[in-house]
Amino acid sequence: MSDTVLEIKGLTVRLPEGADREFAIEDVSLTVGKGEIVCIVGESGSGKSVTAFTVMGLIPKKDLVPVAGQILLQGDDLLKKSDRQMRKLRGEKMAMVFQEPMTALNPVVKVGDQIGELLEIHTNMSRAARKTRVIEVMKDVSLPDPEKMYNSFPHQLSGGQRQRIMIAMALALEPGLLIADEPTTALDVTTQAEVLELIKDIQRRHGMGVMFITHDFGVVADIATRVIVMQHGKVVEQGTRDQILTDPQHPYTKMLIGSVPSLTPPDRPEPKAAEVALEAHKLNKVYGTSGFFSKGRVVHAAQDVELVVHRGETLGVVGESGSGKSTVARCIVRLIDPTGGDITINGANIATMTEREMRPYRQQIQIVFQDPYRSLNPRRTVGQSIVEGPMNFGLGAAEAQVRAEDLMRIVGLAPEALDRFPHQFSGGQRQRVCIARALAMEPKVLIADEAVSALDVSVQAQVLRLLHDVRERYDLAMLFITHDLRVAAQICDRIMVMQHGVVVEQGRTADVYANPNHPYTKSLLAAAPGRDMDFARLA
């Protein structure tokens, strides 16, 4: 048993009164051994993060109260420790890496000092010795030029570099337990692959136990030694990586694994010759200005982008953050003004229209955004949000109401729910509302800007199906922006790959996935987590 770093026995944490259930987590038991990466998998609300934060002692004590069980860190019960003792253990015996490297570092403190802070708290090393050690761990996580980077501020580093800083911080005192809470979810796929490789590597070299929280089975396939599946605060299944991935027992696990979109595009019928709904020619967007005294920084967010979408067809735009895919989407909807080029819809060039000229065309292009929690006005009922658009274009209140009710049925919600407010819906339901809102305008072109990225995998599958259905039903031209190659494989007829504002490759989805031509496309496909596994077939 000396190899067990962390043992959780029957842990139960109570939620405050008025929550949707009594316990955040209930009777959770698990172990993390030395040299093991244990993945805790589950969807939002499964209690996986609460488990991790309870171990660290970072849960808000007023709201979340551990009421039963034990958390043994190398044999010591953490629930019996005082605040002061817990502070001593945090950082020294256990460390944590968080999801959002963009916000997890203090923006006004040099990154080197932020790593050094840990040594300052827990050791009495001199300033010079601390700096030496910091540079050492920065080298350990393969950060380039640590001496120079020591003095950088977080905003000067990329997301991947920041996450390396977080990992260096966690490593500085060689803790026995590393807790990683969705550490790669906010990263681009190529960066994600590097960071996962790094975590595996340091785990191997330092022999620590890693508790790795994730929702992504691709990541699980790449990194896990053992897997623990959680649902509604309870552990429903646990086993080795191979057991869980190839022979899941619990229906929930089977459903989760079955919902992971396959990286292999399905066979699609050759698209019929349909009319062109949307065309962009030499579309350019340049950000940045040159100052009076100084030369401004100029960013070509989109450079000579050419695209055509026919009716009844889905064109995927894939790329990493900063590739310009969202810029293209926003230019086409004219949420931002393109710097140059043509955007043709129904034979009219909308790229250079004034707002007044543009107005009649707004109806024809609608967009669904990534975050369903923020894209609906919280103070209006969803019905009001849905009818607002058509009524702006002259539809009577009664007809708009009828249309809204029909659309609610089409997107799989009850028409009675129109009187409710967005906070009364789940994330997936809200995204359905957003789709209904877009469809209420009776558009010809629907743009989905990372529309399923914020959703849990089981919900994601449903929303993808819905998008597919409405496209068929209304013969829509769809522009599907995503960073997720699995999602793109499933829904797009054709895809174009963007990098640094330039389209590097485009073609039929099946062709691009089978024979990528551009090195960047190849690296994207190679970096997709769990690429060797075809989950849908396994389940």
Binding site: L89, G91, T103, N106, V109, I121, F293
Partner: protein, 314 residues
């Protein structure tokens, strides 16, 4: 950065010109004959004529404007009607008490308000928080002169621990005498700013405490005190400094009242005396002077952002 400072300093010139024109027109566009207004109700025709001559009001407006601007460009703010002294000299004489009063008030305010607001944010919902918020509302609501006279009545007249009024320059009477006379005016003037800045600090720190990097700091095992000082407050600094800067700019009004209540011979008193005596050249000079200070403070606040937040670069 260097270019930015130069640019900002150059940008003050048009602003000052606009203020100067405004001040110039204020006198000329006020209803009636300015010379008669200045001379007052009991003046003889000769008095009015003499004032008109002295202010150059008998010349055409464009000529007057030209002379006024030319005079300003030489750094000359004109001559006071009653004391016959240059306005710059008058301002110079009264600068010290006001400057020291403002400085003491700012230091006192920051030393009290920032810790109060931080504690209130950290202990949000507790009795300390409620007390701070109650004090804040009270501080906003009490007029300066009421507070001033109340403090004088209790501390000076009943308890006799502090002098009733007056100003003792630290350069003549030493620091102790200066501070004894400063305590009441500083408290009087700072209450409203403490209320304002404590509230602002509370709101900002409370927001920052929700940030992920505060959680990261806790995950490192950092003590709560250092989490507050090192992580929360440093990130809350920009909005807090902005409010402090605005407070300084707004202080001019409070200074007038406070200096009158405590009989301090500063710029606030000069404003009051000049207004009561309708000494237009002095009023004009003071408006220009305060505008300049205002612009200067704004520039300093903007520049301080670069020290407080490395993401802000000009």
């Amino acid at each position: 950065m260097f270019f930015y400072i130069i640019k900002r300093i150059l940008a003050t010139i048009p602003v000052m010109v606009i203020v100067a024109l405004f001040v110039f027109l204020m006198l000329r566009l006020s209803p009636g004959d300015p010379a008669a207004v200045i001379a007052g109700d009991y003046a003889t025709t000769e008095d009015v004529e003499r004032i008109r001559e002295q202010l150059g009001l008998n010349e055409p407006i464009p000529v007057q404007m030209y002379k006024w601007i030319a005079q300003l460009a030489r750094g000359d703010l004109g001559t006071a009607i009653f004391s016959k002294l240059p306005v710059t000299t008058l301002i110079g004489q009264r600068l010290e008490p006001t400057l020291l009063l403002a400085l003491c008030t700012i230091i006192f305010t920051v030393l009290v308000a920032v810790p109060l607001g931080t504690i209130a944010a950290y202990k949000a919902g507790s009795w300390i928080d409620r007390f701070v918020m109650l004090f804040s509302v009270a501080g906003f609501s009490v007029p300066i002169f009421v507070l001033g006279y109340m403090l004088i009545y209790v501390l000076s007249m009943q308890l006799k621990i502090l002098p009733v009024q007056g100003y003792k320059s630290p350069f003549e009477y030493g620091l102790w005498e200066f501070l004894r006379h400063m305590i009441l005016p500083v408290i009087t003037l700072s209450v409203i700013y403490i209320a304002l800045i404590a509230r602002m600090t509370r709101a900002t720190v409370q927001e920052v405490l929700q940030e992920d990097y505060v959680r990261t700091a806790r995950a490192k095992g950092q003590s709560e005190f250092k989490v507050l000082m090192f992580h929360a407050l440093r990130n809350a600094a920009v909005p807090i400094v902005t409010v402090i800067g605005l407070g300084i700019a707004l202080m001019i009004g409070g200074v007038v009242v406070t200096e009158s209540v405590y009989n301090i011979p500063g710029l606030g008193r000069l404003v009051l005396d000049a207004v009561l005596a309708r000494d237009y050249p002095v009023i004009q000079g003071l408006i220009l002077f305060f505008s300049f200070i205002y612009i200067l403070i704004n520039l300093l606040i903007d520049l301080s952002y670069t020290l407080l937040d490395p993401r802000i670069r000009y």
